[in-house]
């Protein structure tokens, strides 16, 4: 069976996981800056931050699940298998990085 070429647009997936990590950083930093500047209460600021973090974790989990439930397309040959492995690796590491980077800090004092 001859292999199909992996479409170049699939390469964007290599950046997808950590793009969500970056989005989480920018969103949380912006919410925190706006919340502190406008004097939000600690409770509501923390809630907004938690919701934003959760949304990003869900997005990453959904992307990982989306990749995980479909086996690598054998029609794409070894290149497809390699990219499948690399994309899965970046999604898992991005998920862990997001949880570790932004989860524990939410327990700290908000605007001091």
């Amino acid at each position: 069976m001859s292999e199909r070429p992996v479409p170049p647009r699939h390469l964007w997936w290599l950046a997808a996981g950590f793009t969500v990590w970056c989005s989480a950083l920018v969103t949380l930093y912006a919410i925190h800056g706006i919340g502190c500047a406008f004097g939000w209460s600690a409770g509501s600021l923390r809630l907004w931050l938690a919701v934003a973090l959760l949304a990003h974790l869900v997005a990453l989990g959904w992307m990982w699940y989306g990749i995980f439930r479909v086996a690598p397309d054998s029609g794409f040959g070894p290149t497809g298998a390699f990219l499948y492995w690399a994309v899965t690796g970046t999604l898992i590491t991005a998920l862990v990085a997001t949880a570790v980077t932004f989860g524990p800090p939410l327990l700290l004092a908000t605007c001091i």
């Binding site: 170049p8 950083l25 070894p78 690796g89 590491t93 700290l108």
Partner: protein, 845 residues
């Protein structure tokens, strides 16, 4: 006998092919050398130039150590010291480290990936000349004693007009930005070439790990440099015409500079480190006699490292007053960035542990690197912790850490690379009696110099001070640091002597002395301008084939393009993921255009520096004109259809395919441009939320008519670009559509400029007006560049470069105008929203 005859005829055929290709690819003698565009020549020039700047910066470093060797030193006065240490840092980072790693990439990447040159050789040459001229401006300023003197990161307000009224800071802002043009252009070149010009069959999973490292590094550069370029432009505008982006008394904020600088500055550490990691990942398997352990894990680690390095810029700003919760994001991020770094280190150690390592000079430097980098990594985790950083901030501890992770992690792999790849150039190996002592002098000197700085830092010695009293307990540590600096310098001098002696007296070696399995060893020594007499087809991962057999086969022309045709410099374009050949790329010949364009750019920079604004404008227009002129000589003036490339394969030229390198290059350009625009949006929102005096400013009243007029005109231009593409594809003349787009763009420019003229508050009076003017200026500039695209389209259509099969020019114009429309809508929207944003500020407690 018949075998001998056959060998002789094969050798004669290989020689004939060599002569034909050398005639096509060679650069002429004498002054014609200034027209060189070949990656080997430009790469070598960059290496030599970067080391010239390294030598100057090194001498400056020695001068600082002389000054600090003893208390109450009067070797230099404070102003001279300020210039010397600022230039030491600036030159090391901007004129040595970044260009040096790029020069390695320029020289080696095409060879390791099995292609003949980069996708845009004229851009390579332009990048080099910009680097040389920008570096020269900085160096001449040093000689003239007007060098930058505000520290290598040019913090505002110290670098603003009030505290640095001379040209010193302007030299840095303009000179470094000029050099960054070089870095950015080369980065785009590298991304496109790695993705589109690998050897056929080199799918991404077979690509040497060197390629992955360089690809990710170049992508990082595309995203990392624009924030600093924007910051430099804004600060220069503030200094030159008084728009107060960083002046808190007029609604600006000095901390905005720190954000923009470190958005570049932190990734820059990894931009320097990753190419050196590429060197290590290439060298270690060769000396361990086994393939690299964890190839796939390393690819994931590099990608993770690239992203994480962008998200931790604030760890340079832990002491500026950011709340704890936000600091913790960056503190944790700074700690976990050690994980992907550790993945690589363990992969290298595992490769050595599972292989049969042999000892040679490059490996000495590899082990030097391990020691230094682990030390620097550990102190990096220390300063990532906020409480520790508050104690160590702005002390010599940070100077020590920075030198361990940047200087050490750069210098040791760099020297390993030199000893490893010099036989490719010279056909000789190092003189061991010199190279081994040189290593130990560098290693001992380095640690003596910089380890002591940890201790002086912990004892409270602030960085940047030009002298000290002598009763602080720093005396002997500083003296040892200075002695170490001289020991290290003697070591580097010995390395230079060793390399020079190697050229003449080194032991002659076989063509692949290390037994490597990467493609750069499958070519003649020294590499000819065409690199490969024919281009290989790879069937396995490139670290597991016999280079020697392949070299002979390629020299006989048994690969692709094993012939010379039409005097064309031919290379192959491949599918991005599979590496299957899909287009014939015809590269431009040597030309003086890059030199002249860089000279025009340098004139613009000098005009701005000396405030000859008319000259600067004229030179900028000349630069733009030369770019348009260069475009007139690109591509092929008629349709060719499929052409044979050897091995029974026929391919169309790059001018007749949709996926040509220029398309990807424009996408890279727009990514860089989009990052700059995003940084501008970030700056606007940052000033809105953080800067003082925004609520007391006059409420802006932007003209809705002009804003909507500008957006409508941009939309018409984008639609007309689509019309021109449709018409040309159908075989018609697109002049009418192009003319319509041209008129629409001129209307958009007029509307944007009209808005700038009416900005309230006056841009010089308040940062609110200044940011509005910057956003509108961005739109006008992009519409102006769109005009250049259209002029080029008209000229190339007339000259026959556009046909139904060759519509790349029109596709590029369409993409540019789409981008201009999208950013125009966002910029105009934000300008219109400014009054509401200012009103919202009024409800703050």
């Amino acid at each position: 006998m018949s075998e001998f005859v056959e060998q002789s005829s094969q050798r004669a055929a290989a020689l004939r092919l060599h002569r034909e290709l050398a005639a096509v690819w060679g650069t002429g003698p004498g002054l014609q050398r200034l027209a060189a565009v070949n990656h080997s020549i430009i790469g070598l020039r960059m290496i030599i130039t970067s080391f010239a700047f390294f030598a100057i910066a090194g001498v400056l470093g020695m001068l600082t150590r002389v000054q600090l060797a003893t208390p109450n030193g009067d070797f230099m006065d404070p102003e001279t010291y300020n210039q010397v240490f600022t230039m030491h840092g600036s030159m090391m980072l901007f004129l040595f480290a970044i260009p040096m790693v790029e020069s390695f990439a320029v020289y080696l990447t095409p060879k390791i990936l099995g292609t003949r040159d980069f996708a845009f050789p004229r851009l390579t040459a332009y990048g080099y000349w910009c680097y040389l001229f920008g570096g020269t401006i900085l160096t001449v300023a040093l000689i003239a004693r007007v060098a930058p003197n505000s520290g290598w990161f040019m913090y505002t307000p110290l670098s603003s007009n009030v505290y640095t009224p001379g040209v010193n800071a302007d030299v840095w802002l303009l000179g470094v930005t000029f050099v960054e043009i070089s870095a950015l252009s080369l980065a785009m070149e590298i991304v496109v070439s790695i993705l589109k010009m690998r050897a056929p069959g080199m799918s991404l999973d077979r690509m040497p790990i060197f390629g992955w490292y360089i690809l990710v590094t170049a992508m990082m550069m595309i995203v990392a440099f624009p924030p600093l370029i924007l910051g430099s432009i804004l600060l220069e505008i503030e200094r030159a015409v008084g728009l107060p982006f960083f002046d808190p008394t007029r609604g600006g904020d000095a901390l905005l500079w720190q954000h923009l600088f470190w958005l570049f500055g932190h990734p820059d550490v990894y931009i320097i480190f990753l190419p050196m990691a590429a060197v290590l990942s290439t060298i270690i398997p060769v000396f361990a006699n086994r393939p690299l352990v964890g190839y796939r894990a390393i690819v994931v680690a590099i990608i993770a490292l690239a992203f994480l390095s962008f998200g931790i810029w604030v760890h340079h700003m832990f002491t500026v007053g950011i709340p704890h919760l936000a600091l913790a994001f960056f503190s944790v991020g700074s700690a976990i960035v050690a994980v992907p770094t550790a993945v690589q280190i363990f992969a290298w150690l595992a490769t050595l542990a599972h292989g049969r390592p042999r000892w040679d000079v490059p490996m000495l430097y590899v082990f030097g690197f391990f020691f230094i980098f682990v030390m620097g990594g550990l102190t990096g985790v220390m300063v990532a912790m906020v409480p520790f950083d508050w104690q160590a901030h702005d002390t010599y501890f940070v100077v020590a850490h920075m030198h361990y992770v940047v200087a050490g992690a750069l210098a040791f792999p760099m020297l390993a690379a030199f000893y490893y790849w010099l036989p490719l150039l010279t056909g000789r190996t190092a003189v061991y009696r010199l190279s081994v002592p040189a290593f130990w002098l560098v290693f001992v000197g380095f640690n003596l110099t910089f380890f002591m700085m940890h201790l002086t830092g912990l004892l409270g010695m602030p960085r940047r001070i030009y002298t000290y009293q002598g009763n602080e307990g720093w005396n002997w540590l500083n003296l040892l640091s200075s002695v170490g600096g001289f020991v290290m310098t003697i070591g580097f001098a010995l390395v230079v002597i060793d390399l020079v002696v190697q050229l003449r007296y080194g032991r002659r070696v076989q063509r692949n002395p290390w037994g490597a399995a990467t493609l750069e060893w499958a070519m003649p020594i020294p590499p000819p301008p065409y690199a490969f007499a024919s281009i290989p087809h790879l069937g396995t991962r490139t670290d597991s084939f016999a280079v020697g057999d392949l070299r002979l086969s390629l020299a006989r022309g048994e690969g692709y393009l094993g012939f010379a045709r039409n005097g064309w410099q031919e290379a192959l374009g491949v599918h991005m993921t599979t590496g299957e050949p899909e287009q014939l790329i015809v590269l431009p010949q040597p030309t003086y255009l890059p030199l002249f364009t860089a000279l025009a750019t340098a004139s613009a920079v000098l005009g701005l520096l000396f405030k000859f604004y008319l000259l600067a404008l004229f030179a900028a227009l000349a630069t733009a004109g030369l770019f348009v002129f260069a475009a007139q000589r690109a591509g092929l003036a008629r349709d060719y259809g499929s052409l044979p490339i050897g091995r029974g394969v026929n391919l169309p030229p790059h001018t007749e395919v949709a996926d040509a390198p220029a398309w990807l290059a424009l996408i890279c350009t727009l990514v860089a441009d989009g990052t700059l625009f995003t940084s501008l949006l970030f700056g606007t929102f940052y000033l809105w939320i953080s800067a003082p005096n925004w609520t007391t400013a006059i409420t802006p009243e932007p003209s809705r008519i002009l804003a909507f007029g500008a957006v409508a005109a941009l939309a018409v231009a984008a639609a007309a670009a689509r019309g021109s593409l449709r018409t040309a594809t159908a075989g018609g003349k697109a002049s009418g559509w192009i003319g319509l787009a041209l008129i629409a763009l001129l209307v958009a420019i007029a509307a944007a400029v009209g808005q700038i003229a009416g900005v309230v508050p006056q841009p010089r009076e308040h940062a609110l007006g200044a940011t509005a003017a910057a956003l509108l200026g961005y739109v006008a500039l992009h519409a102006g560049i769109g005009v250049l695209f259209l002029i080029s389209n008209i000229l190339r259509q007339r000259a026959g470069f556009i046909s139904p099969r060759r519509v790349l020019d029109l596709r590029l114009t369409r993409l540019w105008l789409d981008y201009t429309l999208v950013t125009g809508v966002l910029a105009m929207g934000l300008v219109l929203a400014l009054p509401a944003l200012v009103t919202v500020l009024g409800v703050r407690p």
